[in-house]
């Protein structure tokens, strides 16, 4: 078993079983780190808590909802606005966050009355909002406030409002993943089946595990609408509370992030017989294959093929421009959970990038099974890494860029390793054909920014070269390229708009008659 113990973790020997190197001939039956376990004391984890996983990752991307935390204000503040899950209703869920602001006196005397007061105030302050989610925190869980009872009281007094209660305190699991699980099951138990949705198409899906980071959901929604497929609900990015109550009427669950949302898909399959289709929205080939599968499920393959042909012709020359300049660049792929397997193989295949390491902060062994399988030999896989391990990995692997969250990312910058924000993106969306080119552009800009070279010089002691002029990204990236590639009339840099989402919101889509209507005609 090729376990790997970092030198910096020799004083925490239990850490050894959380890292492996994929050696020649190794597979996941001989190389799989432990995962989804409590962080080992002494290891400074980068994980979030189960409250954060429930509220920040899954709950709050819902767009037409007052999201209230029952706890200290810090819990809410620290889970607000750090992921760019935009929406098409003026970003209500990003602009506002709500908290009951529990203090010591509430811990002693209880906070249920205060919670009720806060709920009423919030609905009064935003009279058009009729839906609310309430998130339990460690503080309110420990004193035993009955949030469900208060929510029931309010719903009885205000029949036009509906409230969802999520009991996922921070300590409710080893990481944010515990919260993903809890909110999935809670939504299933409390809300699915409580609204009968309007069905407008013969082809009806739930789009699950998609959080509309910088517009990802809207890009994918565009493809589905062009095929005449009705997205009954999106769990949960740009998703509507009442749409999500009607999930039980879909014919197919299309699952993107299995790490955060496979639970609800599995339950929908068992309880309502809706099958689960796992897809990849990142990268030309995986996305094309995904659109093809969804279309094939409904017997409308021609509609998917038309989109694939059009989008590939439009964007492939731009992807290949970046691929020529990114080939054999070394990347540490260090996201939270699912992106390590969404991106591991396709970055290598479609951008020429070598993945030298994958890690997951909160993933389970299942995520590592997928990620390690998709990596090439020699990759270092780490579960729940600490900051010192990251530093050691960067020193030994010498990556050209790391794709990670902003906490480890800012640390990387200090040692002159550029990073991209894998959770909230830089210039996303990164899904879709155009999005994948935008991702390539962000990687290119990160690696070839002249600032990294300049910042390595210490003006207090290094000799500053005076015989070298100003260097641009192109000068750095094209230095070893052949003239054929450099002067290609086919390949080109990204030519899309600054905001590629805006146009989608006013777009008019083809109308496909449903079988019922066309038979009547």
């Amino acid at each position: 078993m090729p376990y790997h113990l970092f030198k910096c973790s020799e004083s925490i020997p239990e850490r050894e079983k959380h890292s492996v190197i994929k050696g020649p001939g190794e597979d996941i039956t001989s190389a799989l780190p432990l995962g989804y376990l409590n962080t080992i004391p002494g290891s400074l984890s980068e994980r979030g808590c189960a409250y954060c996983g429930a509220k920040h990752v899954i709950g709050t991307p819902m767009k037409d909802v007052i999201h209230m935390s029952h706890g200290p204000i810090g819990c809410t503040y620290d889970t607000w606005q750090t992921k760019r899950y935009i929406s098409d209703n003026d970003n209500f869920q990003l602009k506002y966050t709500f908290a009951t602001d529990m203090k010591e006196q509430n811990i002693v005397f209880g906070a249920e009355k205060m919670l009720k007061k806060n709920i009423l105030e919030a609905f009064k302050a935003f009279p058009t909002m009729k839906r609310m989610t309430i998130y339990q925190t460690c503080a309110s869980a420990l004193i035993g406030d009955d949030i469900g009872a208060i929510a029931d009281e309010i719903m009885e007094e205000m029949p036009d409002v509906d409230i969802f209660v999520c009991n996922s305190p921070g300590f409710g699991g080893p990481s944010q993943s515990g919260g993903h699980h809890k909110i999935n099951i809670a939504w299933m138990n409390q809300k699915v089946g409580t609204v009968e949705p309007e069905i407008t198409s013969d082809y009806v899906i739930n789009y699950v595990g998609e959080y509309n980071i910088q517009g990802d959901q809207e890009v994918m929604q565009d493809f589905f609408k062009r095929m005449g497929i009705q997205i009954l609900s999106t769990f949960t990015g740009n998703g509507s509370y009442d749409d999500l109550r009607g999930m039980h009427r879909a014919q197919l669950n299309v699952l993107e992030c299995a790490r955060s949302a496979e639970y609800i898909c599995n339950e929908l399959r068992v309880r309502y017989g809706i099958p689960r289709l796992d897809i990849d929205g990142f990268g030309f080939e995986p996305l094309s294959s995904s659109l093809r599968k969804v279309a094939m499920f409904f017997g409308i393959e021609d509609r998917a093929e038309a989109i694939i042909t059009e989008e590939t012709a439009r964007w492939k020359p731009e992807l290949d421009w970046y691929k020529a300049r990114l080939t054999h660049k070394k990347v540490c792929l260090w996201p939270g959970g699912s992106k390590l397997w969404h991106w591991a193989n396709v970055l290598h295949e479609e951008m020429g990038i070598d993945i030298v390491s994958v890690y997951t902060k909160f993933g389970h062994q299942q995520d590592m099974e997928k990620g390690i399988s998709r990596c090439e030999e020699g990759a270092l896989a780490i579960d729940d890494p600490n900051e010192l391990e990251n530093m050691e990995a960067m020193e030994t692997l010498e990556p050209d860029i790391i794709l990670t969250g902003k906490r480890p990312g800012e640390v990387a910058k200090k040692v002159r390793v550029p990073y991209l924000n894998a959770h909230a993106y830089h210039n996303g969306p990164w899904k879709g054909y155009e999005g994948w080119v935008r991702f390539a552009r962000d990687i290119y800009n990160g690696i070839y920014s002249p600032i990294h070279k300049l910042s390595l010089l210490d003006i207090s002691k290094d000799e500053i070269p005076t015989d070298v002029g100003f260097e641009t990204q192109r000068m750095l990236s094209d230095v070893n390229l052949s003239d054929e590639v450099k002067n290609s009339t086919i390949l080109r840099e990204y030519t899309g708009e600054y905001d590629c989402i805006k146009g989608l919101r006013d777009k008019i889509y083809p109308e496909y008659l449903t079988k019922k209507v066309s038979e009547a005609v």
Binding site: T29, E262, G273, M296, N345, Q366, E369
Partner: protein, 116 residues
Amino acid sequence: MDDLTKDRVEQLIDCIMKKCLWQFHSRTWDRERQNENILRMTTQILCDEAFDAKTLEDKCYWVDAVCLADDYKKKFTWLLGIEKSEIKLIMQEVKNRLDYLTITGSLNEELNDPLY
């Protein structure tokens, strides 16, 4: 298994492990169901056998099977030059190997959790 068959099985397995997600559902019983149905249908497609997906569940297996079979035909042209009986033999070995990698030989400690 002779070396040639072994090599061919590994090529087909590598394609599944790098390109597909359906083999990694979270529990043992789901992985058994997925592997069994999708690989059975893939074999039927590769052997030009008719298949009629009647239920939503069958359709879901079928779309993954069609995409895998297409991928196989495109990448592994040797598949087009061998007898159907040989395809069936190789696909049975693929199934055995995939079951080992994802179920019986898996180190994933959550596979047998009775709840989702």
